[in-house]
């Protein structure tokens, strides 16, 4: 399906997947610890940022988005675009709301 070298042995599969999993759990640990550290209002932004990194890892390594399939990337990008519109419009409305 792609030019990437796919691990065909049990060892190969486990090795690559386990590395991603360890990084994901390390990120989970760090997000919980950082939630208790006062960071002058940046706690939410940091925790959402870490969630974003975790999602990219899952998308890239577990959901195989790293495969250079333009059709799938187009489908993924279209969803992101519409979610971007949703977030952009709501934030715009809140920011310009007159109390």
């Amino acid at each position: 399906m792609s030019g990437l070298s796919e691990p065909r042995t049990i060892g190969g599969i486990l090795r690559r997947m386990l590395i991603t999993w360890v990084v994901l759990l390390a990120l989970l640990g760090s997000t919980v610890v950082l939630a208790y550290v006062p960071l002058q209002g940046l706690n939410t932004a940091i925790s959402i940022g870490i969630a974003g990194v975790k999602t990219v890892l899952v998308l890239w390594f577990f959901m195989e988005l790293r495969r250079p399939d333009p059709l799938l990337r187009l489908a993924g990008a279209a969803s992101l675009l519409w979610i971007g519109f949703l977030f952009g419009l709501v934030f715009f409305e809140i920011a310009w709301r007159v109390n």
């Binding site: 989970l28 939630a35 706690n43 577990f62 489908a75 809140i94």
Partner: protein, 207 residues
Amino acid sequence: MTALREPWRSLRRQREGVALGMWAFLGSEAMLFSALILALIAGRYLHGAAFAAASRETDIVYGTANTAILLTSSLTMAIAAEAAEAKLRRLALWGLAATLALGLGFLALKGLEWAEDIERHLWPGVGFALEAPASRLFFALYWIMTALHAVHVLAGLCLIAVMMVRLARRPATLESPALEATALYWHLVDCVWIFLFPLLYLGGRAG
């Protein structure tokens, strides 16, 4: 008997069609949860103190444990999908079984957490434990989002169970794109929880 289905002429085209359809479906699911996540973010922006106080009432131990369980289940599911592609049937079955067990564990913990939440009067109805009006808004979103997510977990578990039975009966299932589609769906359920966890459980902990 192969995994090829009507109207596809080749397994490769069938796989591409299933993958595209699945990604379009996952996009719609992502939009559904994004709207709710956005409501939570907007609520936190508009009612910061009340949302932080309400968030502190959630059980971070259950939340963290369940996040670790779901991340691990994504690992076992990815192993299953990769093993199926490499024609390693036993490893694929093992991965699906582990994912099923972890998913059930997630739901069991969630059930225990919900029971404790109700005991502590965190259902935003009569006798709600918190005073600030906006905290009701937070817990309304908490219940809606965790329940909707749990329904998705349950649907994923049903799909995994079906795939396990099919794989145990017919080795040709290894070639079926349905297994890959099931894996993609499960990972989406994990991705949604990755965002629900910080938004529902981590707010207001530092203050």
